[in-house]
């Protein structure tokens, strides 16, 4: 009898707990559905980010980890169809036009020097020939370099426009005709679902070129201030001008209308991240010039004091301060400053500097000032700082002019406070229009800007124990060009798209694990 009691109690306890041992719902039994959407034909529109571009090139392995391809992989669990990408011919990137190399190969880390990665382009001739057309279904229509208005520009896929700059070789590869547009080609494929992430380049090229346009004078590049456009006619824009928000919004609207006309009304749109939070702008600090006390003393005597005296005489003494032992600001060209070249030359000559040298210094320092914490020094400057201007080699004790310390880096290598403000103002305007379009057309919306801001925060984004940040190389999310993402970075983006699709269309596409994709490759 007593035994019976005990066994009854034991049995009762067992019964009450046994049902909690297994998962309430096994993930293996979850049925993935498309909800109110239909993923059978998904077309992605966009620029380099959409194409899978990374390490300054488009190449096969990168394309395989493009965020649209990652999304399409999940869509296949819910009736999604094949996702065809215009794959490049090799894993080196770059392109040839017949026998002319028109785009270079990807970057790789060849080694480390003083703890910093040494980046090189793969030494290979590209094997992707722009003239070899890809026909048939193209699901990933991301075109590296495309701005918003390029998606609706006829002739953007016309090979004869490549060398004149009216066409884009990436689109030329798969354009359906010499007069087709990316938007019309997309619509003609009758997508059941689309994504569009465009507008980044409408402001990015301004930023990555330090707010300048390149002008060739006697075959030498010179850099003139780019324009914050208010014109609604993009054919008047120079390549690094900031597009007017009306042009960006109008172009996206035209794309959406074109798609709608073909019956494609369900899709997702993403906004534009603040481009200045990416490693291309945040890696080199404004005070990247280390000086010893002796070196600072020598520079003050030889350059800074006389230059400051001259500038003070000309009413512009605030452009320079004496340098000190420790980290010092980089000498930059600010095209908003009055050009004092002639006056400087005159003052220096009058103070006894030989005329040719005075002219050389006057010429170089006409719009120079020290950078401040509000200015951004661009990533390519990292290979120039500390280089002897004359020899092109790392500075020695006898170097008189050294980039950054005693000679300015070019205007195209810094984004000044005012220029950075132009960038932010434009992005804010674009994003407000994109949000409006998203709701007007009933699309799912991805706040890519918020996600990138999170990535750039001090704690970054942690996933299953791996911490990602917007730091160059070590952050894991950005590729070697400091602008585009790694496979892991694109996976983080893909998850944002998947979340937004699920929430808008009541689908339950599973997330992906960023850690499973490729990051930065080290030798």
């Amino acid at each position: 009898m007593k035994k019976l009691y005990i066994s009854t109690i034991a049995a009762a306890l067992l019964f009450t707990v046994s049902c909690q041992n297994d998962f309430e719902n096994s993930t293996e039994d979850v049925v993935v559905t498309s909800g109110e959407a239909n993923f059978s034909k998904y077309i992605a529109l966009g620029n380099s980010l959409t194409s899978g571009y990374r390490d300054n090139a488009l190449y096969i392995d990168g394309q395989k980890e493009s965020y649209p391809n990652l999304i399409a992989g999940q869509m296949k669990l819910a009736g999604g169809g094949e996702f065809v990408q215009p794959l490049m011919a090799d894993n080196n990137g770059g392109m040839v036009f017949g026998t002319t190399v028109i785009l270079g190969t990807k970057l790789y880390i060849s080694g480390f020097s003083n703890g910093l990665p040494v980046l090189k382009n793969v030494a290979a001739t590209p094997t992707t020939d722009v003239t070899k057309k890809i026909t048939g279904t193209i699901n990933n229509m991301g075109v590296p370099g495309a701005k918003s208005f390029h998606l609706i520009a006829p002739g953007y896929g016309n090979a004869s426009g490549i060398l004149t700059g009216t066409a884009n070789p990436y689109y030329v590869r798969f354009s359906t005709s010499n007069t087709s547009t990316v938007a019309a080609d997309a619509a003609a494929q009758k997508p059941t679902f689309f994504s569009i992430w465009i507008g980044n380049n409408d402001v990015l090229s301004y930023a990555t070129n330090g707010g300048t346009n390149t002008v060739k004078v006697n075959d030498v590049n010179t850099y003139v201030a780019a324009t914050v456009q208010t014109s609604v006619d993009p054919t008047t824009y120079k390549s690094n001008d900031i597009s007017s928000p009306q042009v960006v919004a109008g172009s996206i609207k035209t794309v959406l209308e074109t798609l709608k006309a073909s019956g494609a009304t369900k899709g997702i749109i993403a906004n534009i991240p603040y481009v200045t939070s990416i490693p291309y702008f945040t890696t080199v600090p404004y005070n990247a010039i280390p000086l010893t006390a002796a070196k600072a003393q020598a520079l003050n005597t030889g350059l800074y004091q006389p230059m400051k005296n001259a500038l003070t005489y000309l009413g512009a003494g605030s452009r320079l301060n004496l340098v000190t032992a420790g980290q010092n600001p980089v000498l930059i060209v600010d095209n908003k400053l009055t050009n004092l070249s002639a006056q400087l030359t005159a003052v220096l000559t009058a103070s006894g500097v030989p005329p040719t040298k005075a002219a050389m210094i006057g010429n170089a320092f006409g719009q120079v000032r020290q950078s401040t914490i509000d200015d951004l020094i661009l990533l390519p400057a990292s290979s120039l700082l500390g280089i002897d201007v004359v020899t092109g080699q790392p500075a020695t004790d006898t170097s008189e002019f050294v980039y950054g310390a005693s000679y300015p880096i070019g205007d195209q290598l810094s984004l000044t406070k005012d220029e950075a403000a132009n960038v932010k103002t434009a992005i804010d305007a674009y994003n407000s229009q994109i949000a409006t379009l998203a709701s007007a057309y009933g699309l799912a919306f991805v706040d890519a800007n918020a996600k990138m801001t999170e990535l750039n925060s001090a704690s970054g984004i942690q996933w299953d124990g791996v911490r990602y940040s917007a730091k160059f190389v070590t952050g894991g999310a950005f590729s070697l060009d400091g602008v585009h993402l790694t496979g892991r970075g694109y996976a983080i983006v893909a998850n944002e798209f998947l979340k937004a699709i699920n929430s808008k269309y009541k689908s339950n596409l599973p997330m992906i694990s960023p850690n499973s994709y490729s990051g930065v490759t080290f030798p």
Partner: protein, 408 residues
């Protein structure tokens, strides 16, 4: 008595248990009765309570045994829908003990056991790879002891604990496309234990014991960073030393056995474990800045936030005759951390276990067989320290073979 039993059993249902990496498998006969402690028939009592050796009904007694632990953990990520199972090898805790009555009221004893340990092996590319791919924890306790009979019905015993341990931990360094291995097999630690054992009459056994914490100190641990060659200069060429301390926590035990009839006994135990001691794991590397402390980049501190746990055990034995004994038990073991602190290197669950076994007595030789089936409660967790979330469940099965010999 029935009432007491019922109350105890019910109380057990709402109480908690010891989990973590404490492996309560130090007596095959004991396991068959829920691993209860107040059993002084042979030398296997030595681990449970040094005072118990005074009541072994022979002058010299030896006992030894071993277990097989089969366990499988399943992890599922409800957001990626991925499911992963461990591929753990069979665990094999062992023990041996000897007790000898030097004088009628003075006994000496020695116990060898492996009371803490864990081996977990996840697929190397699983979602939690940055936290653990494989972890092997081992401990060996060497305990000389002495027990004195204070009166015919009570004894006091004390032991010194010398512990040796091993840790072998491999995890991914995802950002560097590499792996980190932390290895130390020379960690040592010291502790002590003591207890009182009572046999007021021929019906009751009461065991009260305490075992101190043992801080296993790895002083010469070897860290191997398997990373691409260009990164080796950042990792001191790929190898470094580390120091770490892993606490093997203290345990309070109160055990009672009551002979309802000469043939039928029941036992109950209460254990309390000081897991709070494992609040964080600090790895101090010699040279490599693999840490996360702003003032010392070579020190890596990982919060563990364990909390103290209790275990309740109920067991019974019925003697079918002088030779054959049947045993049953049930216990409940508590996970030492909550859902916010779930860690996949030592997955723990609130755990209900049923046990059973048979004992055979051939004169002085005892042969015991036991088995136990655990029913860990599946759990849903989200650990913000490592941004690791999902659900986990486990399947655990123990079996053991033990021998005892009461020589004379």
């Amino acid at each position: 008595m029935r009432k007491i039993l019922i109350t105890t059993a019910l109380a057990a249902g709402v109480m908690a248990y010891a989990g973590g990496f404490r492996v309560s498998l130090q007596g095959v006969k004991q396991l068959a009765m829920a691993h209860t402690s107040a059993h002084a028939e042979d030398a296997s009592v030595a681990f449970f309570n040094p005072a118990g050796i005074s009541f072994i009904p022979s002058k010299l007694s030896v006992a030894a045994g071993g277990f097989g632990v089969s366990n499988k953990i399943t992890y599922q990520n409800t957001s990626t829908l991925q499911q992963t199972e461990t591929d753990n090898p069979l665990g094999t805790p062992i023990y041996a003990a000897v007790a000898y009555k030097v004088l009628d009221n003075l006994s000496l004893g020695f116990s060898f056991s492996t009371p803490f340990g864990s081996t977990i092996e996840w697929p190397s590319d699983w979602e939690g790879k940055e936290i653990v791919q494989k972890l092997e924890l081992k401990s060996f306790f060497f305990q000389p002891m002495v027990s004195v009979k204070l009166a015919p019905w009570v004894s006091f015993g004390a032991s010194y604990i010398y512990a040796k341990g091993k840790v072998d931990w491999t995890k991914a360094l995802t950002q560097y496309n590499g792996q980190l291995n932390l290895l130390d097999d020379t960690a040592t630690g010291h502790g002590f234990g003591f207890g009182f054992y009572f046999q007021p009459d021929n019906k009751w056994d009461v065991s009260i014991a305490y075992r101190s914490p043992v801080d296993m100190k790895a002083k010469e641990g070897k860290a191997t960073f398997m990373v691409p060659s260009s990164l080796l200069p950042n990792f001191n060429g790929g190898t470094d030393n580390f120091k770490a301390t892993l606490p093997l926590v203290d345990e309070y035990t109160l055990g009672v056995t009551y002979k309802i009839t000469p043939k039928w006994l029941v036992s109950a135990d209460y254990n309390y474990h000081g897991w709070e001691r494992y609040s964080k794991l600090t790895l101090d590397f010699d040279k490599v800045a693999a840490g996360n402390q702003p003032n010392d980049p070579t020190v890596l501190v990982s919060p563990k936030n364990f909390k103290n746990t209790s275990t309740v055990r109920v067991g019974t034995q019925y003697a079918f005759n002088d030779m054959i004994f049947g045993r049953l038990g049930w216990y409940f073991d508590q996970s030492p951390y909550d859902d916010k602190n779930f860690i996949p290197e030592t997955p723990s669950f609130d755990n209900y276990v049923i046990t059973g076994g048979i004992g055979l007595k051939f004169n002085r030789l005892g042969v015991d067989l036991s088995g136990a089936y655990a029913m860990p409660k599946s759990r849903t967790f989200n650990n913000p320290n490592i941004s690791f979330a999902g659900q986990a469940k486990a399947k655990v099965f123990y079996f053991g073979l033990g021998l005892s010999y009461n020589a004379f």
